[in-house]
Subunit: 370 residues, 2 copies
DNA sequence: TTGTAGGCGTTATCAC
DNA sequence: GTGATAACGCCTACAA
């Protein structure tokens, strides 16, 4: 069996084996159309026979394309990350690109990390997931020509290509669901002010109430932190009130807080959904297993990841096409005028309401909707 | 502010700026002790002022070290992956290494992927997580000198450094817990035969019974597939039997099957733990939220990831030390005799039993253990 | 269409 | 201790 010590060979070896020059081998490898099909066939046969794979470092150094895309991400055990990364990885698996993963915890100097990443000039594009404080810096790099796509729920999308959901509409749907179940006193646990998505979800909640001719009651608005502890806290506050003042339903701005809410409800003997119906937001994997299972807005995280990478690869391709192959140092003075850079797209994917037991008693036959 | 267009500079530029040759800059960057401290200081100042980071591709091409370690992994939404990757990423964050992530789904030709990875000669070591069918091939590469660590529960650890847990002892503890709760008729749902860990867990179960002078009852042994569906299936089989023949407890070989078991139990009105106490294995994140919460063996996934990377980096360092810096083609004929390669370590981390409501009614005061 | 030659940025081997 | 200089493997004008 040939091809054992694969990799030790260089383009030069292949050239000798195929009886051509290394320039030709390079052209074949890069699908340069100017090469004679017959010759190309011969070269490819040798390449395959010996399982030759070009040394990527040499390729990049010589001005070739990287085939490496960077993913800047928070710790992968954040609830949404596994699904997002699944979309990313699945898409990339069918491409010639590989992932360089930069997980940033909370310790190190993030700005430094980012600089190192880019200065190494190893990646040809960057997917930034929940970049937190790095957002501003990323915008700057994007504007300097770095293909970049952002997945974020904290900053308002602006300045860079962005993939996410429509929080307002989604929250509207969540609230509408509770209204349709017959509730009129609907509480809300808000996310922290630093999250743009939290504000949008609150707006959607208010608008749904307005459209049902209900004035939001500020006594039914709670302020959470997007964590389980926040849900516990708000639940305690609520359950400590006189029972006659309780709402009959609550829309909670994310699932994690809902878990806390359900936990405290169970501890204190509050029946869900009989006493209070609950709707969350996100549909993390746990939400199907809570007691009772949580009705929530499903974010299509896998699709978000997939879509973001698709967009990023498109941007990289565009850039490669439009740029003079080499030494094309486009010096200062003019704003780049390419599609994606001039007018960064903002893609919003559809969410879906997932009805489970926390918002109503499930019955076998679907509700007739005339 | 200097250091804006960081990265555009080369070692040559720094050399000019510092008034030395690029050779000296390179030496300074690589902490070569032969350089004059004063000069070194001067160079470093320039490096920092301009935020210079070497072009990694050039470094590698010239025979330097990669600073890139490969992680071969299944889809990241597999239940154990987020925690493992957290350990990996956290550890690597404090090192000069970056992660190249190769997620392999079920579609593509895995062997090809692996060959490409290695032939690109981009990574200086590989962490293989649940490699499935690739295990054999990986052993071969390890034996040819690739620093490699395996995290796997399918094949028996052999031939490569390996990090995991002691399944037999852990299953023994799980079963012992049920025995200590007073159960004597304890069933077991086994994992599939293709998983070495499943066999070990079954052995641990049997041994615990033996040590309690109980003969395992083959009627109480069920065969699962490590998936939720398997748990559902076995639960259905069990609950269809005459109630007088039921066990009072069951040890299920992994949590996913336990979820299915709990689900069917709830559907059919079987009380957990009153009718049947349940203990799982893994402690995935969902297990704390099931109804009732699941007693289970906690695998220290994050520690496993951390430990594996620690081991891998040590191997890489060892290799770099022992090897002549360049052109040290150690040709065939002799087995490598370095520590880790001659005698690959097999590290087993401790598990813990997490007691929740599925195995007994929780009471406030801890059980006194004299 | 194909081959030749120069260069990408760094490391390592020499002399000095 | 320091500075030239030859690799490293590939890409791409340019010449043939």
């Amino acid at each position: 069996m040939p091809g054992e010590m694969q990799g030790r060979l260089t383009i030069q070896d292949i050239a000798r084996l195929a009886g051509v020059s290394k320039a030709t081998v390079s052209r074949v490898l890069n699908r340069n159309p100017s090469v004679d099909p017959v010759l190309g066939e011969r070269v490819m046969r040798v390449v395959q026979e010996y399982n030759f794979v070009p040394n990527i470092t040499a390729t990049v150094l010589a001005g070739g394309r990287t085939q490496l895309i960077g993913v800047l991400a928070p710790p992968l055990n954040w609830p949404a990350m596994p699904e997002i990364m699944r979309g990313v990885a699945e898409y990339l698996e069918d491409s010639p690109y590989e992932i360089v993963l930069y997980c940033i915890g909370n310790q190190r100097n993030h700005a430094d990390v980012l600089n190192r990443i880019l200065a190494m000039r190893m990646i040809s594009g960057l997917l930034a997931i929940f970049p937190g404080g790095l957002a501003r810096q990323l915008v700057a790099h994007f504007q300097q020509g770095l293909p970049l796509v952002m997945i974020d729920d904290q900053e308002e999308p602006a300045g860079t290509p962005w993939v996410g959901i429509d929080n307002l509409v989604s929250a509207y749907e969540a609230t509408k669901h509770l209204l349709e179940c017959g509730h009129t006193r609907i509480a809300h646990i808000q996310g922290p002010a630093s999250y743009h998505c939290a504000a949008e979800r609150y707006q959607g909640y208010c608008q749904a109430l307005h459209d049902a001719s209900i004035t939001p009651d500020s006594n039914l608005l709670f302020h959470g932190n997007f964590k389980q502890s926040g849900g516990c806290h708000c639940a305690s506050l609520l359950f400590a009130r006189d029972r006659s003042t309780w709402p009959t339903a609550i829309f909670i701005s994310n699932d994690e807080m809902a878990y806390g809410f359900l936990e405290v409800a169970q501890e204190q003997g509050v029946s869900i959904p009989e006493d209070i119906a609950v709707v969350g937001f996100d549909d993390y994997i746990i939400s199907a297993h809570t007691s009772p299972p949580l009705t929530t807005i499903r974010q299509p995280f896998t699709d978000i990841g997939r879509t973001a990478i698709d967009l990023l690869l498109t941007m990289i391709d565009r850039k490669n096409e439009k740029q003079p192959p080499k030494n094309g140092r486009q010096t200062s003075g003019g704003a780049p005028t390419q599609d994606y850079f001039a007018d960064p797209p903002c893609i919003q994917l559809a969410t879906t309401l997932v009805q489970r037991a926390s918002s109503r008693v499930l019955n076998q036959q679907p509700i007739s909707s005339p």
